[in-house]
Symmetry: C2
Subunit: 190 residues, 2 copies
DNA sequence: TAATATGTTGAATATAAATTCAATGAATTG
DNA sequence: CAATTCATTGAATTTATATTCAACATATTA
């Protein structure tokens, strides 16, 4: 244990943060390794000492990002509407205060929708069954009368589209005013 | 006027449609000219006979897309809430039925948020003052009591984020069920 | 139909960016 | 403090893709 090992970990993290920032603002393909290297003030060669490839760096970010949905779905789901209220509030709160979280949210949705995402990343993303789980919860909420009628998948889509879009705006222009989470919940509230 | 001139225009349109599809699904940087050429079954060389560069092709799509916001803002704005209701309904209706429109919507928002967009495109997008105009309308709606209180810019952001996110989903997976526009309007309704 | 203009291709060429590598300097360890 | 390992650089090398071009084909026109 010396100056080195801690420095190494620190740089690893710095590269991830810089990669996250650039990938979200420019997209995976348009982000050059040299952009990332410049952003952390190291040579391009050295960056490859830390990450095997641009793709692996991206992949590591996605792996970190996957813990987000997991954490969301770990919350108490006994009352569906309360779950969606708490989730929206927590996510917008984080996204408005912690740029890393907001950017991570953007990264995940970009990756989700992008056909050009590297195959290993797409594979990882297939684990993410948040939408399906939420649609089931929507139905449950409709049954107990707290969530409005309508196609549960469509309700889920509208709810997440709004959250995702707001996070994107927060991540990319940190000065925009953050909407109230309650407004977004009104999409699904009966 | 002969077989040629009409054929030429037809191909021009085909290339635009293929470009739109690929740009929205993969992003500008990740879309290869050869992808587009393959999609319209022509050689890469010929594509350059129709468009000076990949950037110019993209730029032409953005120019077409800019007519969308213009058309939206041309609608009757005397009653703000009614304006937002009609707008949401019209856009979702189009997006659900016409893939070109849905994709165009995605293209525009991608371009808007992407730092890596070509400079001429960014310049074109600066014309688009839809958000500012909408925020003003939100205030007006608050004054006449039809729109909920809150930061007008934040209300605008939430409203458009939801619409945009839904359009993205519709464009990229045409089989998803379309949310009701009224649900989205409930974000801003008093 | 001959001359001309336009469409089309596939094979160069140019360029940009990812990745590798040999060499050097700095920390660690015995 | 000598040997060794790791960090770092800048300069190749490789690879991918945009763009150009010379040649040929097909339509237009006089």
């Amino acid at each position: 244990m010396g100056v080195r090992s801690e420095q190494k970990e620190k740089r690893h993290q710095e590269i991830l943060a810089a990669g996250l920032d650039l990938f979200t603002r420019k997209g995976f393909a348009a982000t050059k390794i040299s952009d990332i290297a410049k952003s952390v003030k190291m040579s391009v060669g050295l960056l490859f000492h830390y990450f095997e490839s641009k793709e692996k760096l991206y992949e590591e970010l996605i792996k970190i990002g996957l813990s987000g949905p997991k954490m969301v779905m770990a919350a108490d789901q006994s009352d569906p509407l309360a779950f969606f209220e708490a989730t929206a509030k927590k996510i917008l709160g984080y996204a408005a205060s912690d740029p890393f979280v907001a950017k991570m949210f953007v990264l995940m949705s970009q990756a989700q929708y992008n056909d050009a995402a590297p195959e290993p990343v797409k594979e990882l993303l297939r684990q993410n069954d948040t939408y399906e789980r939420c649609a089931l919860l929507m139905e449950k909420g409709q049954q107990n009368g707290t969530i409005r009628p309508g196609n549960p998948a469509a309700l889920t889509l509208a709810y997440w589209a709004a959250i995702q879009g707001v996070c994107e705006a927060l991540a990319l222009s940190p000065n925009v005013p953050c909407p109230e989470s309650e407004w977004i919940v009104d999409i699904i509230r009966r």
